[in-house]
Amino acid sequence: MADKTPATNGREATPIVHMDKIEKHFGNIIALAGVSFDVVAGECHCLLGDNGAGKSTFIKTMSGVHKPTKGEILFEGKPMVFDSPRDAMDAGIATVFQDLAMIPLMSVTRNFFMGREPTKGRWPLKRMDMQKANDETMRAMRELGINLRGPDQAVGTLSGGERQTVAIARAVYFGAKVLILDEPTSALGVRQTSNVLATIDRVRKQGVAVVFITHNVRHALAVGDRFTVLNRGKTLGTAKRGDITGNELQDMMAGGQEMAELEGSLGGTV
């Protein structure tokens, strides 16, 4: 697919985030060996690749968790250094991390608004608006197809999918300019998955730039505008929607290695 890479050259819009030749080393482990990537407003850019390819590490440098060992980040055209995830958030980047970044002992509402709590009243009586926070949380969760028993259940006691939905709903709620989703549908049921995909589609149409990581080719094809494949810390290339078929994409995601043969309906895409 290396020959298909120039396909992106034709794009006009300046990217909101442009990551240039990012490298990231952990001690003696090289997780990223020079990855370039950009995303423009109103598109959904899928980041695909084998397990351990470096996808999560890459988006973590984008959202201020890791500092790149080498390489540059341009935000809206200007070089930018995010010192903490809070900086990235203030710039309008919201992320669903693969590990969800939630506090098990705290309630759903408190996790939802963690770091950006709605307040009411004036100092010194400025306080959290719990009523509003609870309502918004329940509403946002219902939109994604989860009916919580109550907004004060501890996140640690939620089911895997319920928990993931909290993280997605939160990111969607706060994702002003860029929304990064690291395998957001991995634990979701069919109904919740289709809701999330529909949500991605909706926010993209509202002009938000979406970075979507998934292992499911069908999900990627359903909402993706461009597809970038990582393998062992390097880019294999980027393709536009329509330039590539599901089977081609699947082969690339497997890192070029052969897959076990399966009977039945799995002949096509997993």
Partner: protein
């Protein structure tokens, strides 16, 4: 997406009573412990323990400990320890005493100056912990020794060789700020109540209880404010988040460093408040002040339901934890047991109080 499912009563919930709901809160477990201890002393202690003066008597140490315990609890909820609190009491006491006695400053200058120095030490503690990534246990432990040692040296310098600095009361006589930090509040009211016979008086006519010791008021006010901050403000949310999972909190945009440093400052200031109150009250300070108070504060916080691993606990819990601790330590002197057995009783009562609290909570909330 428009047709969002309506909110319906959920068939997956059993009904639960108000009691159950209340008992799920960490602080209310500590209340159960406090009640158990009270009942124990009602049966075993001299009845004078629960007279007005008896209550003030055990509430005073409880309040002094409690101010430290609430600060320690908030820091523990944020996932860090401050072992330098006790030494900080001695050190702030020395600084404050020296300001007042040696330099003759009025309180309106001496108190803010002492707090400023304490806050700076808090920032130092916090910064070292966060910059190096060392456990706060070990960093503040170093300050436990350093501040204790510095108090000794400082006292010797300030007094010319003694480890006891006296004369604070004389130096402050007539200072208008003193009543806020020492002595008793509402003395007028109490004298009046004594006159009309509502409260007991000594043979010479003075009331047995001259008023409410100010530390008790500070203690209650601080517990209320801390609870409000923890439960009702964004900052409270950040404290829980920082202690629950530092990485997750920081990834979700919580300014973890600021939160933790502020709390190190808070514990240092709590220690300073206690130091100022006790130094003015006692009129003196010495190198042993606050000895082991860091552990007592942590103990009170843990009795009150704080987790040592962070992320869970409450200020009200620490409030009752301190009262339990104060009531047990002073209360035992109202009973008729031999002082040799004191520690055995103390340990047994602590264990009994937390076991009872735990038992009640388990009963009420069902398994798990």
């Amino acid at each position: 997406m428009a047709d969002v499912a309506p909110i319906v009563a959920d068939e997956r919930l059993k009904r639960e009573g108000v009691v159950t709901t209340l008992m799920k809160r960490p602080e209310l477990g500590a209340v159960a412990g406090a009640i158990a201890v009270t009942i124990f002393f009602l049966f075993t202690a001299s009845p004078t323990m629960f007279t007005l003066s008896g209550v003030m008597n055990f509430m005073t140490p409880a309040a002094q400990l409690g101010i430290l315990a609430i600060g320690a609890a908030m820091l523990m909820i944020a996932g860090e320890f401050d072992l330098s609190i006790g030494s900080m009491v001695a050190f702030s006491g020395l600084i404050f005493g020296a300001f007042v006695v040696t330099f003759g400053m009025p309180l309106v200058i001496a108190i803010p100056a002492t707090f400023a120095i304490a806050a700076a030490l808090g920032v130092l503690n916090g910064t070292i912990v966060l910059k190096t990534g060392l456990p706060s246990f070990i960093v503040t432990l170093a300050f436990l020794f350093i501040l204790r040692g510095a108090s000794l040296v400082g006292l010797k310098i300030a007094t010319g060789g003694s480890t006891q600095l006296r004369g604070v009361r004389d130096a402050l006589s007539g200072d208008w700020l003193a009543p806020i930090f020492s002595g008793n509040a509402f003395t007028g009211l109490f004298t009046y109540l004594g006159k009309i016979g509502v409260i007991d008086t000594f043979p010479n006519g003075t009331t047995k209880v001259p008023g409410i010791p100010v530390e008790i008021l500070w203690f209650i006010a601080f517990a209320l404010i801390a609870t409000y901050v923890l439960l009702r403000t964004p900052q409270g949310n950040w404290i829980f988040a920082s202690g629950g999972d530092e990485n997750a909190a920081s990834n979700s945009g919580v300014p973890v460093r600021k939160v933790k440093i502020s709390l190190f400052v808070l514990t240092a200031c709590c220690a300073t408040l206690v130091a100022i109150i006790t130094v003015i009250d006692a009129g003196s300070t010495d190198a042993r002040r606050g000895f082991m108070k860091e552990f007592e504060a942590i103990i009170a916080a843990v009795i009150g339901g704080c987790l040592l691993t962070g992320g869970y606990g409450s200020a009200i819990g620490a409030f009752f934890g301190a009262i339990i601790f104060g009531m047990v330590t002073i209360g035992l002197t109202y009973t008729n047991f031999d002082q040799d057995w004191y520690q055995v009783f103390l340990g047994a009562m602590l264990l009994a109080a937390v076991l009872f609290n735990n038992f009640i909570r388990k009963r009420v909330t069902g398994e798990r």
